[in-house]
């Protein structure tokens, strides 16, 4: 039998110490709360995996005082408790344990998780996924809808967990003053107001409308998005928030990274990598793959200029050399200056080559459509209507097309898988998210590799 007597003991001690010498007569009495329950298999799992190693209590049996008492919130289905807490363990506790060290996570982890089956419905019809109280307890709602075969459902609660954890470490090492200066004057306690739309918030440099609430929420949203949504999401979101907002996003990121390194000796890139390893290794998530990044249009271009320094340390396939060398060794009498495969949208791309002489530079462009097939591979085709500027006419000059035709034919006739050059289990931190590759499905030795170029101002 577990009993919940600790709070009573605590109060009892306080009162004895403070009032033990008062003249009033004391009643020789204590009251106990007989809130007891029988533990079962789930409790054993929690004890072994969470309470013993991390001193974490999981309240999965309904307790009204763990949620807003004015709401109606359904209890958790027993069958969802272990899967949910396994997600917390794998994609939060163990991620930090590995990167920040066991002592770090055992010291700072929230000590109580409360689980509920339904969402937390607000009068306006919105549904909350999770909340946290003063860094001690994290409450997760909507457990009964959890489907661990659906990676997106797995991601759902993790952002809340990582967000709340950030508050706890902030309570131990305060947020650097320069963080607040980035968006000073734009914080807005009434963040839930209608006028604080996502658009308004992002143009001011906030990753979510909620981040505007105060500097603490902003910091927590920044770090949790960097980890859970990933670096490419963050960079793309920053870029699409506009030229004024972009540097604010990047500055906040830099301060957050610096804070984690300086105070806790944690490299945020390592956290991102470990998080991705768990998602892909244990939950079959493709949310953070190169293919998903292309589908989400996070990436500006791949640099295919294999004459550059980057290629020295890379294994460039015979195929890529055979296709690109005729282009790179000059077009007609001109020098080839660069070649990029540029992503225009999630379904369109442009092969762009710059050429010229000492005084002039011109471009040659070929527009492609790019489409993911049902089997996950990608196929490309020259677009029926090409662009109209001069580069599209130059592209068809005979001394150019004669060198590019082989590459175009290859792109059109091949099914590719889109991957990072090194898998998440093998990649070195300095190469993480840096090299994208088109792998020929029919020939394991053939691939087109290049450094990823992101959009910036």
């Amino acid at each position: 039998m577990n009993t919940m007597l600790k709070i009573w003991i605590g109060i009892g001690l306080t009162c004895c110490l403070s009032y033990s010498c008062s003249k009033e007569d004391k009643l020789n009495y204590t009251l106990q709360n007989y809130d007891t329950f029988e533990s079962g298999a789930i409790d054993d799992w929690i004890a072994k995996n969470l309470t013993d190693p991390y001193n974490i209590e999981v309240v999965y049996r309904y307790q009204r005082n763990m949620h807003d008492v004015n709401k109606n919130i359904a209890p958790a289905d027993e069958s969802k408790v272990v899967p949910q807490m396994e997600i917390v363990k794998n994609a939060f506790l163990e991620v930090y344990s590995k990167i920040g060290g066991e002592t770090f996570i055992k010291t700072y982890t929230p000590k109580q998780f409360a689980l509920f089956g339904s969402g937390d419905y607000d009068p306006d019809g919105s549904v909350k996924g999770g909340t946290a109280d003063g860094g001690r307890r994290i409450t997760l709602y909507g457990l009964n809808g959890l489907d661990i075969t659906n990676p997106n459902a797995v991601l759902g609660n993790l952002q809340v967990v990582h967000h709340e954890f950030t508050h706890i470490i902030n309570q131990n090492r305060i947020i650097p003053a320069e963080f607040e200066k980035v968006c000073v004057g734009d914080y807005y306690s009434n963040w839930n107001a209608q006028e604080n739309t996502q658009q308004v918030a992002r143009e001011l440099g906030f990753i979510t409308p909620y981040a505007r609430k105060n500097v603490g929420e902003d910091f927590a949203e920044t770090l949790s998005h960097l980890i859970v949504r990933g670096q490419l999401f963050y960079d793309d979101y920053a870029y699409r928030s506009g030229e004024e907002a972009y540097p604010k996003f990047k500055e906040k990121e830099a301060i957050v990274r610096d804070y984690m390194t300086q105070y806790f000796n944690i490299d945020v890139t390592q956290l991102q990598m470990e998080f991705q390893r768990v998602l892909e290794g244990q939950y079959n998530s493709d949310a953070l793959t190169f293919g998903s990044a292309v589908n989400s249009n996070y990436i500006d271009a791949l640099n295919w200029d294999i004459r550059s320094d980057w290629s020295l340390s890379k294994d460039i396939s015979q195929k890529q050399q055979a296709l690109l060398n005729p282009i790179l060794d000059g077009l007609g009498n001109y020098v080839t200056k660069s070649i990029q495969f540029q992503f225009v949208s999630s379904t369109e791309a442009t092969l762009y080559i710059e050429f010229g002489d000492d005084n002039n530079t011109w471009g040659a462009s070929y527009d492609f459509t790019i489409a993911q097939q049902d089997d996950g591979t990608f196929k490309m085709a020259l677009s029926e209507t090409q662009g109209e500027d001069d580069s599209y006419s130059y592209a068809n000059f005979s001394y150019i097309i004669s060198d590019t035709q082989a590459l175009i034919d290859y792109l059109e006739s091949t099914s590719f898988t889109l991957d990072w050059d090194a898998s998440i289990t093998e990649v070195a931190p300095q190469d993480y998210l840096k090299y994208g590759v088109f792998k020929d499905v029919s020939d394991p030795n053939a691939k087109l590799l290049g450094p990823v170029i992101l959009r910036t101002y």
């Binding site: 010498c21 003249k23 004391k26 009643l27 029988e38 079962g40 049996r61 109606n72 359904a74 209890p75």
Partner: protein, 429 residues
């Protein structure tokens, strides 16, 4: 540590509160666990009717149940946890997900409850009292009763072998086949209508002067019939359940165990013209494309009117027709046809209303439009001509009861005399 000797306590009730509450907690838990054949349980809800359960409590906080919510809940035992907690009283808490908590779930996709409120039910129930073989509890938030009655061995076997569903099907089938039933209590006839989707039973009685009165109560299915959870009073007698006498005979029972056989009728004890304006005053044509008791011509005309209304908008999404209400004010012979529409992303309501006066003779109604429709009603009037100008305004209609052959529900039907191919039904509200 203290400087003065603590004062001893004078215990008015003989034992201290700790011991007394511990006694109650132990009593409730032991009673639940010790019942050899488990418990039949009934509860009512705030926003719906009653629900029936069978529960088996084990000493290790585990609980098995079936319930008459869905086919699955009636046939598959679901295991979950419970505990007896000391909150304000001894509280029975269904503290992990079970069929019972489906009624409380605020997500509409779980059991079609209201968003944020569910069916208006509870997870925690305070112990109130014991009476004979029955334990009474009350929901902590919605204050609805939960009754646990000791089951017999035969009942237990039926519940846990999946045959509860068969009994529910049997109840439904009988009452669908025989939608007009009544019982007679000391010469007073009471017509009984069980609504299975809402789990509410309504009763209509006529007194010696021909005045009708109606009552309703929550009911649920049991393996022996139907339980009227709070009972329903007919002629000063409280009917508490309906039970199967044999394969084909259902009878009502009062608190003393007296029996009131069910009569199967072919027409309502309340004449239609009496019911209209007293039992119901709105006939609602549901938001569907075809329906029980609609003629092909009505289906086509309703579709045409829907398309006509759908041509219009306020620039934020076209109007979408949903239900059509025929609202009667019998006292002054008025009737309004109300087209209920929505538009836009938030499904904002938009209503078109056309007012009529009517004359009635031998159940035949003749409607005359009052004045000329103005405003939006006037603008869109031409688009509903398929139903109004070409039929309601010009024809004579016979109104009467119509029994939905799919649900057994008693509805109203409009039949045009001049156009025998034009008839339709609606729900009585």
């Amino acid at each position: 540590m203290s400087c003065s000797k603590p004062q001893e306590v004078d215990e008015i009730f003989g034992t201290d509160p700790d011991t007394r509450i511990a006694d109650t907690l132990t009593y409730v838990k032991n009673t639940l666990v010790d019942a050899p054949n488990g418990w039949k349980a009934y509860l009512t809800t705030e926003y719906s009717g009653g629900y029936g359960f069978y529960m088996q409590f084990a000493a290790n906080d585990r609980l098995k149940m079936v319930a008459d919510l869905t086919d699955q809940t009636a046939s598959e035992l679901k295991e979950s946890t419970y505990r007896i907690r000391e909150i304000m009283a001894a509280t029975l808490s269904f503290d992990t997900y079970s069929y019972l908590t489906m009624l409380q779930d605020p997500s509409p996709d779980v059991y079609d409850g209201e968003a944020g409120k569910g069916m208006g039910s509870d997870v925690e129930f305070d112990y109130v009292k014991t009476s004979g073989d029955t334990l009474f509890f009350e929901g902590r938030k919605f204050y609805k009763p939960l009754m646990l009655v000791k089951a017999t061995e035969a009942q237990q076997q039926t519940y846990i072998s999946g045959k509860y569903l068969d009994q529910i099907e049997k109840n439904k089938a009988f009452l669908k086949e025989n939608p007009l039933t009544s019982i007679v209590v000391d010469k007073m006839e009471a017509e009984i209508t069980f609504n299975f989707p809402t789990k509410i039973v309504s009763i209509i009685t006529a007194d010696a002067d021909g005045n009708f009165s109606s009552l309703s109560a929550s009911f649920c299915n049991t393996v022996d019939g139907l339980e009227i959870i709070d009972g329903i009073e007919i002629n000063k007698v409280k009917i508490i359940r309906f039970g199967w006498k044999d394969e084909n005979t259902l009878a009502g029972f009062d608190t003393a165990g007296n029996e009131y056989p069910i009569k199967i009728n072919t027409s309502s004890i309340v004449p239609y013209l009496v019911a209209l304006g007293t039992r119901f005053s709105i006939i609602t044509v549901p938001d569907v494309t075809t329906y029980n008791g609609w003629s092909t011509d009505f289906v086509a005309r309703r579709t045409a009117a829907k398309a006509g209304i759908g041509r219009w908008s306020f620039g934020t999404g076209n109007f979408i027709l949903h239900t059509i209400d025929f609202k009667f004010q019998v006292v002054n012979n008025r009737m309004s046809v109300v087209f209920n529409n929505t538009y836009g992303a938030n499904n904002t309501n938009f209503v078109l209303t056309y007012n009529y006066t009517y004359t009635e003779e031998n159940g035949k109604f003749k409607f005359s439009l009052s004045g000329t429709p103005g405003g939006n009603d006037g603008l869109i009037y031409d688009d509903v001509r398929f139903i109004l100008q070409e039929r309601i305004n010009t024809d004579t209609f016979e109104l009467g009861y119509f029994v939905n052959s799919e649900t057994g529900e008693i509805m109203s039907q409009f039949k045009s005399i001049e156009h025998p191919d034009f008839y339709f039904t609606g729900l009585n509200n």
